[in-house]
Symmetry: C2
DNA sequence: TGCTTCCGTTAGCGGAAACTAACCGTTAGT
DNA sequence: ACTAACGGTTAGTTTCCGCTAACGGAAGCA
């Protein structure tokens, strides 16, 4: 279970450029140059972002010759989704309580 | 003028204190003082965080006398969860493609 | 009316993040 | 072995974020 870094996962997805990288990586594994060519930032920035994403457990690295292929980790994404789902269900439950206690109009 | 969307749910959930506020709010609507009493920050910080969360559409405000009751918005949470779910499914599809192809493939 | 409570706002400070540019190691090809 | 390509790392700057402290405004109560 490498989902202990879910707290960092939110910080990792906070940046827009990083979400763009995740979006590209979700469609298939890619190298650094591939990603950098599709984004308005340099390879250094992409490399640093990938390090953060890898450190958060969201992506995994695979060395192929002189290239590094990065791919998205579905498990970490599912962990964040699950945590978000918990908030969602609790909020729905709180809404249900309010709906029960409001049979009449209040101030 | 800036065209970036200030209502970024991901940036809002990036901060740990803000996630703590969301967690408290998920269990039921509360006022600012209520939340600040449960967190190691002042009311000003909580108020600012609530402003960011409200601007992101994650929480909604309701004025009751001299207090403001804040509550979590399940719809916004579901939207983030859905977006995360899309990444998850795409990553799984990418994994399926790699798993189907034989490991003798070279490039 | 006067007072208290509750909350939002502003100013300012300290720290962290994002980005570019330059450097170095590694790998593949000739 | 030499060269070119790919990628990680570092230094440095700039910008943004989170927090506290102080101030001002609005509602409730005697």
């Amino acid at each position: 279970m490498d989902a202990n870094q879910s707290g960092d996962g939110w910080s990792a997805l906070a940046d827009g450029t990083r979400r763009a990288i995740v979006s590209r990586l979700a469609e298939g594994p890619q190298a650094v140059g591939q990603i950098a060519a599709q984004l308005p930032v340099t390879r250094s920035a992409v490399s640093q972002h990938l390090k953060i994403l890898k450190d958060a457990g969201l992506v995994s690295e695979q060395a192929v010759g002189t290239r590094r292929i990065y791919r998205l980790n579905p498990t970490a994404v599912a962990a964040l989704r699950d945590q978000l789902d918990t908030f969602w269900q609790r909020a729905l439950a709180a809404y249900a309580e309010v709906a029960e206690q409001a049979p009449e109009e209040n101030r």
